[in-house]
Amino acid sequence: MSRSKHTRPPQIIAAERIRHPSGKRGKGDPSGEQRMLSVLKELGIEISEYAERESIQQATISATIAGAISLPKISVQRPRKGFSHPTGRALLKRALLHFGELSWYGVREISLIHNPDSVGQNKLIFGRLSVPGKILLYEQPHPPWLLGGLVRGDQRQLLESAGATVEISSDGARCKIDWPEDTLSNFMLFEVFMHEIGHHIIQQFKGKRQAQVLRRKDHEVLALAFARRCRQSFLYEDRHG
């Protein structure tokens, strides 16, 4: 099946735009190279096509190594006493580099900040995506969490799948959530951060970034699926090198 040269997949577009943020839209277009080579051939100058392509690829790789491709700004606010940021700046960077340009193309800022809403409300906020491209990750209390209420069934399932242990008190009115080892860090990285990145990717590649492009329910389902894929891919890579 043929494909228009203007409908390149998001992975390719994201990588190109990040490498050449001010470049023209046709930059790196193979048909342009072809045209140039044919003009040179007409003039009697012969350049090996493969040599040309190789040089372009080499330039890209060296730019990556030199740090010319910049990640989005990650700002960290020092957590309050009794709280911490389970995912640090280094872990976020590592994850972004692992998942490639697609995951951070269009992300303007990632902020690890205080969580002013967490006290006195019947919800514990982990993270937010403020469209377009601002991701907020909130500090979390040190585990175990003793909560004055029960968690919803689907959310309990999500927490348990991420490695948390959820215990309900004998009176059935409170619950205790514990996070053994690095499960909280992984939860914040995949089920929160990559989940928000999933929302961001849906918004980013629809061309209507300021508006909600899908029903909220569908948005959540796709973001959840994206986060799961990321978890599998990252942890597999981690274990198997």
Binding site: K123, R128, P132, A223
Partner: protein, 345 residues
């Protein structure tokens, strides 16, 4: 009906003696005093016109409200005076507006919102009457905001205007407040079948040079098929004007008749619409000098307020926000305690 606030009217540099007289009568209608700053020297001055200087205005009144069509000023509709305020509303010269001296002593500025793009003001005496009507009775509702106000605008029928200048000023008010056409039942022949002098004076009062309003002559024998007719009167008939729904669109006709000429009760209004009701312009005094432009302008201003205008700004678009959170089903009364806090304790 008793007035809620005492508001005096001050004319600043008014040139036309007819306007001076009409302003005095507007003040009389609302049981207010009318004073003038910088009366024309050597000109014809109406009997009983009292003078006041800008220094006296500043000393005697608080707040002093400048009635002007400046930008970013308070809108008259919905403007509330402070309790027990002794306020004055200042109307400026017909051409140049309020003088710099009086502007300096005025504490606030208010405006009557003009809908027309070509006329940005109405007759000074008519504007004074409108301002006194809204300020004396207190809060009467704000300017409505609608997406399509034109669909809510009723048709206006001016009936039996006896004075060409009064009718002209009323037509000017109608055009400035947003009407594209007005029906005129010219029983006294002051607009359509009049002599040259009357015609030119009437057209001048209506600012016909830049007033694009369409005037449709109609006869008392004509019958109309409006769904509803509302007759505006100063008599104690029907609901008060602000409590009457005057924004039912073109199927509604609002009849503004010159009550110095006809008795609105005795008139057969069934010829206009099957359903007829009355709307009363409340006036605190029983006897006053009748000016058609005052009553017509008050009625037109109230209809214009109810019809409203389009929003001058668009609400900020809410950007989508996605959140990951843990929602607790039943929150127990008490406080969340974290392990760290307990250890410290």
């Amino acid at each position: 009906m008793k007035v809620r606030h005492r508001v005096d009217l001050i004319g600043d540099g008014i040139e036309n003696p007819f306007n001076i007289e009409a302003m005095m009568h507007a003040a009389q209608m609302f049981d207010s005093r009318c004073l003038f700053n910088a009366l024309p020297v050597g000109g014809e001055i109406a009997d009983g016109a009292l003078a006041i200087t800008s220094a006296q205005i500043s000393q005697s009144y608080a707040p002093v409200l400048a009635l002007e069509n400046w930008k970013n000023v308070h809108v008259l509709y919905g403007y509330e005076l402070p309790q027990q305020a002794h306020a004055a509303v200042v109307a400026g010269n017909e051409r140049q507006g309020i003088s710099r001296q009086v502007a300096c002593v005025s504490t606030q500025a208010i405006c009557i919102p003009m809908i027309s793009k070509r006329l940005n003001c109405i007759n000074v005496a008519a504007a004074s009457a409108v301002a006194l009507y809204y300020l004396c009775y207190g809060l009467r509702g704000r300017m409505q905001i609608r997406s399509e106000p034109q669909k809510k605008r009723p048709e206006i029928i001016f009936v039996a205007g006896t004075e060409h200048a009064e009718l002209g000023s009323s037509i000017r008010s109608g055009a400035a407040l947003g009407w594209n056409r007005i029906f005129i039942e010219d029983r006294c022949q002051v607009w359509f079948g009049c002599d040259r002098v009357t015609k030119s004076e009437g057209r001048a009062a209506a600012r016909r040079g830049r007033n694009p309003i369409r005037l449709i002559p109609c006869d008392r024998d004509h019958r109309y098929l409006f769904g509803e007719a509302v007759v505006v009167t100063t008599k104690n008939l029907g609901n008060p004007l602000p409590k009457t729904d005057l924004c039912r669109g073109p199927q509604q006709a609002v009849i503004i008749a010159d009550e110095s000429q006809i008795d609105v009760e005795a008139e057969n209004w069934q010829r206009v619409a099957q359903r007829v009701s009355f709307a009363q312009i409340e006036v605190p005094v029983t006897s006053f000098s009748y000016h058609y432009r005052h009553l017509a302008s008050i009625a037109l201003a109230e209809i214009s307020r109810q019809v409203g205008q389009k929003a001058l700004w668009k609400p900020a678009k809410q950007e989508p926000l996605y959140e990951s959170s843990l929602i607790l089903l039943a929150q127990e009364l008490g406080e969340e305690v974290f392990l760290e806090d307990l250890e410290d304790y």
